[in-house]
Symmetry: C2
Subunit: 270 residues, 2 copies
C-alpha cells in the first residue's frame, strides 16, 4: 500500500502524481539510482548510510544531480511528518539526465512471517552477472527475471552465480554461508555493499566468527560443504536459507538468528 503523499524534487505531492513520462530517455534506459530503507518508530533507519550509498551509485554510473544529502534527508523527514509515518518502507528514486528527478515514496513496511526465520526460506541459483555491481541502478532486468524464476519454483530468493561459478549475492540481498566458525561471503568489489551486509559483518565478528571474503562456490554449496547459509537485506536483516537448489539445510539456524537479532538491535542506534 502506498502512502498518501510523496516528494518530488523537494515538493510534497500526492503519491498518485508520482509519475514519469514514458518518453523520458532516462526512464527508458534505466539511467537511475535508488535506495530502499525502513522507517521504524518514525526514524529513518541508517539514513546517512543510504544517502552515502546513493551518492556512490550516482558516481559509479556518472549520474550527476544537484541534490545534497542534507536536502534529501530533510525531504525524507518531511514525508515522514506530512503522512505521520510511524513505520514504512521508503524508496528514494532518482532519475538522471538534463533534468534530474528525485522521488521519495512510502509504502507499507515490508516484513516477513516469523516462520521465515525459524524454518528458513528456499533459494535457487541463477546464472548471471550484474552490471556495475556496487551500484543500485535501474538496470534490474536480471534481478527481476531471476526472482520470477525463483518464485515460479516456490522459492523466496534467487542467488546470482557468476562465470566462475561463485555465488555472489541474491537479487535483493547479500549472501553468506558458514563453514563452522567461518563466514564466507563475496568481497566488497563484487557485490552491492549492503547497509545491512555491513552490520552483518560487524555482528558476526562480535559473535566470534571469522569473515572469509571469498564467495562460496556453487558446486561446493551443492556438495554440502557449508553447514548454514543466509541472505541479508534492509527488510530481512539476516534470513536463514532452508535450501539452495536441491541442497537442504536443517537445524535451528542458531548462528544466523544470533546475527539477525544483533543487527535488528542496532536499527535505532544512529
Amino acid at each position: 500500500m502506498e502512502g498518501v503523499h510523496a516528494i518530488h524534487n523537494g515538493q510534497v505531492i500526492l503519491a498518485k502524481d508520482a509519475v514519469v513520462p514514458v518518453t523520458l530517455r532516462e526512464v527508458q534506459f534505466g539511467f537511475s539510482t535508488y535506495e530502499a530503507l525502513r522507517v521504524v518508530k518514525g526514524h529513518a533507519v541508517h539514513l546517512d548510510d543510504h544517502l552515502i550509498r546513493l551518492e556512490n551509485s550516482c558516481r559509479g554510473i556518472k549520474l550527476s544531480h544537484p541534490f545534497t544529502k542534507e536536502q534529501i534527508s530533510t525531504w525524507v523527514y518531511n514525508l515522514i511528518d506530512v503522512d505521520a509515518i510511524e513505520q514504512a518502507s521508503l524508496r528514494i528514486q532518482l532519475y538522471g539526465g538534463k533534468d534530474p528527478q528525485l522521488f521519495v515514496l512510502a509504502s507499507s513496511l515490508l516484513s516477513y512471517p516469523d516462520e521465515y526465520y525459524t524454518q528458513g526460506v528456499g533459494a535457487i541459483t541463477f546464472a548471471g552477472e550484474r552490471l556495475y555491481p556496487s551500484c543500485k541502478t535501474g538496470n534490474l532486468l536480471l534481478n527481476y527475471m531471476a526472482l520470477e524464476q525463483a518464485r515460479s519454483l516456490g522459492c523466496f530468493e534467487a542467488l546470482l552465480v557468476d562465470r566462475h561459478h561463485k555465488v555472489l549475492e541474491g537479487t535483493r540481498s547479500n549472501f553468506f554461508a558458514f563453514k563452522g566458525k567461518e563466514l564466507y561471503t563475496a568481497s566488497d568489489e563484487q557485490v552491492l555493499l549492503g547497509i545491512t551486509r555491513d552490520r552483518v559483518l560487524k555482528a558476526a565478528v562480535r559473535l566470534g566468527f571469522r569473515i572469509v571474503f571469498d564467495a562460496p562456490d556453487a558446486d561446493e554449496v551443492g556438495k554440502g560443504v557449508f553447514d548454514e547459509a543466509f541472505i541479508s537485506s534492509t527488510s530481512m536483516a539476516a534470513m536463514p536459507l532452508s535450501r539452495i537448489d536441491s541442497r537442504n539445510f536443517s537445524g535451528s539456524y542458531e548462528k544466523t538468528l544470533a546475527i539477525m537479532r544483533l543487527v535488528r538491535s542496532w536499527e535505532l542506534d544512529d
Copy 2:
C-alpha cells in the same frame, strides 16, 4: 518534439498523459520491451517485422501480455490517423507484469545531416556485454553509458566489445566491416536482430559481397585490417564510420553508401 496524442492500451490519450507510476515495479526493474520505427509518407515502415521482433523480445524475457500484433498494428495506424502523421519516429513501449501497459508514441522523424553519410561519423569501442542480446528491453544502462562516453569524446556511436574482444554491435545500431569484397558482422545469436540489419545483409548480397558471420576483432580493427566500416539502424539505414577509436577510415565510403541507398529504397515496399 512529441506528437499531440499517444496510444495507451488501445486508447487515444494526450501525449502528455503518457506517464507511468514511479512505484510500478516493472518500470523500476526495466521489465519492458520496445520497438522504434519510422513513419514515411504515412506508412509505418516494416511494421510487421517490428511487431514480430517485439513478440520475440517478450518471449525472450518471459513478458506475457494480451496484445496481438493485429491490435498493435491497428493502434499504430490509429495514431497515424488521429495526428495526421506524414513522417515521424514511432516508439512502441510495453511494460510487463500483472497489468501490462502498451504505449505508442510519436516524435519528430529522427534523421541525420547528409555530411554524416558523405564524411562518415566517429565511434569509440566500449567494453560491455548486453543481457539477452537478441531482445530489445528496458535493460539499457550499458547502452546509455557507452553512448554518453562516445558523445563526451565527440563521437556519434559506441561499439560494444565483448570479453573475447569482438566488436558486436553499437548501442543503437548493428556493426559491419569490409575486408575487400567480404562483409564481416556478428552472428545472429550475439546481437539484436536489426530489422535494418536484415536488409543490409540482403543488399550486400545483391551488390555482390560475401557475408562472413564473424564479429570483427577489436585489435584487428585497430590494426587497419578492415578497409571500410559502418553501422546500421532504422533511422541511419547504413552510416559510414570515419574512425573507430584512433583508427581512421578515409575514402568515399562507396560500398556503404551503395548498401544505404538500396536499403532506403525498400522502405515503402511492404
